[in-house]
Subunit: 350 residues, 2 copies
């Protein structure tokens, strides 16, 4: 391991001068070009790499950002992570990713680990979060810039969300404009933050279009710690609904996975999608494009959301560094209707 002292010896200057030159510190202004050149050459010759740990101990800057994900197996996360990476990488920041499996205990332990490693910022991906996170304490106290994706928190933590209400409205509007009038709904789990605004969007559109919502066509996903459970639950609920012989030509699901479950139940029940029943999802996760029929859905700009969160955290980091005021931002991103194969004009009614 070659240290700064080795470079000092090689170049004939002191360690202090080497440090000043290589870091281009303010004092480097006073140092003549010849000295600089000799130091640079010595460093290159010895393949000197500064010890990040030693530097961090002294300077407090780790150039890392902690990323806490509630569950990586949720396909929702992947594009978000890409978005984060796309912002952090050019800025030479390293994301440190931890997966809390939706467990409170893991959340606390991982948060500690991240703080112990002096992350300069924190991003939380709360896509499917049931654990109650009153983390405000630790984080705000330490003055660490933080952002959360998929939730809004009071306090100094920035947030990036999709406009759930608008998205749900888009979904229903799409079915309505295709002529569907008898529409079934799979709502989200009660403890999930997205559930309420999405349903509000549904109701708001229904009211404005004078569409009657039949309460017998409303299903609710149960609470679960596993984001992937909504596939199976979507299947079960829809299968049960079919058994009641209730009639409908369209179905709006809480998310893409429950939409897949619903499609499967419909097909098994002899109802063809989209010929006899249209299905709309929410999220636009990767499998939506692959499925047969491919899924019409409401796209969340996941990559952009990740990038936005990362940007505001980096801004916060700069602010802290320059001792400026930390202002939190709360962005609401626009969802987008993606029409694929799972929706069609309403049939006569089956």
């Amino acid at each position: 391991m070659v240290t700064i002292r080795d470079v000092a010896k090689e170049s004939g200057f002191s360690a202090a001068t080497v440090s000043i030159v290589l870091n281009n510190a303010p004092l480097a202004h006073y140092i003549p070009a010849t000295t600089k050149a000799r130091i640079q050459k010595a460093a290159k010759k010895l393949h000197y790499r500064p010890n990040v740990i030693a530097r961090l101990l002294r300077s407090k800057r780790s150039h890392t950002v902690g990323v806490i994900v509630s569950d990586v197996t949720d396909p929702f996360c992947i594009p978000v992570l890409r978005g984060i990476d796309n912002v952090l990488y050019p800025a030479s920041y390293l994301p440190i990713l931890v997966d809390i499996h939706n467990q409170r205990e893991r959340f606390e332990r991982h948060l500690e680990m991240l703080l112990d490693r002096h992350v300069e910022g924190l991003i939380m991906v709360a896509n499917w979060l049931f654990v109650d996170i009153n983390l405000l304490g630790d984080i705000e106290k330490r003055n660490i810039p933080a952002a959360i994706i998929g939730r809004e928190l009071k306090g100094s933590i920035s947030s990036v969300m999709v406009d759930n209400e608008a998205g749900a409205r888009l979904a229903l509007e799409h079915l309505y404009s295709l002529g569907h009038r008898r529409i079934a709904f799979i709502r989200g789990p009660t403890t999930l933050a997205d559930t309420v605004p999405r349903w509000r969007g549904i109701q708001s559109f229904a009211r404005s279009a004078k569409l009657r919502i039949d309460s017998r066509l409303i299903m609710d996903l149960p609470n679960s710690l596993d984001p992937n459970s909504s596939f199976e639950n979507g299947y079960r609920l829809t299968a049960a609904l079919l058994k009641t012989r209730a009639r409908f030509t369209g179905l709006t699901a809480f998310d893409d996975l429950s939409a897949f479950g619903a499609m499967r139940a419909l097909e098994k029940g002899g109802v063809r999608v989209p010929q006899e029943c249209s299905v709309v999802g929410f999220d636009d996760v990767a499998p939506s494009m692959l499925s047969l029929p491919s899924l019409t859905t409401i796209r969340q700009p996941l990559q952009a959301m990740g990038a936005s969160a990362a940007s505001s955290v980096l801004e916060g980091v700069d602010a802290v560094f320059e001792k400026r005021l930390l202002v939190s931002s709360h962005r609401k991103m626009l969802p987008e209707l993606v029409v694929r194969e799972s929706t069609r004009p309403a049939p006569r009614l089956f």
Copy 2:
């Protein structure tokens, strides 16, 4: 920030004694219980947390393992990461995940970042790796235990792979036993390591079963840096094959994504899956269970593979720490046929 000196002051002992007691160092043997208790109490009272960075600077142990992934958007990765996490977390090791987007430049830069941060071990997930990695140099030189998933490298780096040949044999055997005789094949890209052994498995089974392979039914995925491209390419290739009016009742795809592409082309071409044509994939990624029809495929024990790689790296870390010899392991895991809805007994021939 409360330091060890604060605890020393609070307890009335010196920093050295505090360090010895709190780390339960060998010398702690000589220290009376009363002293220990007073120090423990002081530490608790002040909420003392040792500074990981300072400790690391001195002790060289970072309790982190670098995880290099060729592309996180590949659904293949997720269960692997889970497996890694499941081993690292209980051992109090933190994985530091980097995504190289299949780019050589990113690989090099990220590897440097990880080494700079003194990771104690390295795991590479080479699911879809086209960049040439002659990393042996840096890694072996530094004596860092490493493991690679999905590839075999000569040298001291451990590897965990699925038995590709056996897997391909299983796939073909399944179709054969269902009565299929005219079978189409989507082979992998030439630069991917899995391609050759899988094709060898196909040929080996064909030979032993005296099954004729029609070369007009063989398709090859083009080289691409994007793991998700095989969906579209599977679609294109299969659509083109259908245009030739060649006949077949079964199709073996290189991976699940190309199988999805093939299924879509078949359906669009008016060939129903599985009634008129059976399709088998490879990998068993998450969407395989969701699709309609769900995909019969060869499962790679991804989570177990991740866990295995993590275990051998941790073993290596222990070995290095105790100055024992570093032995590399090369594990080959057994694939498993998962029968779902996309395969059926052969029809009369369409």
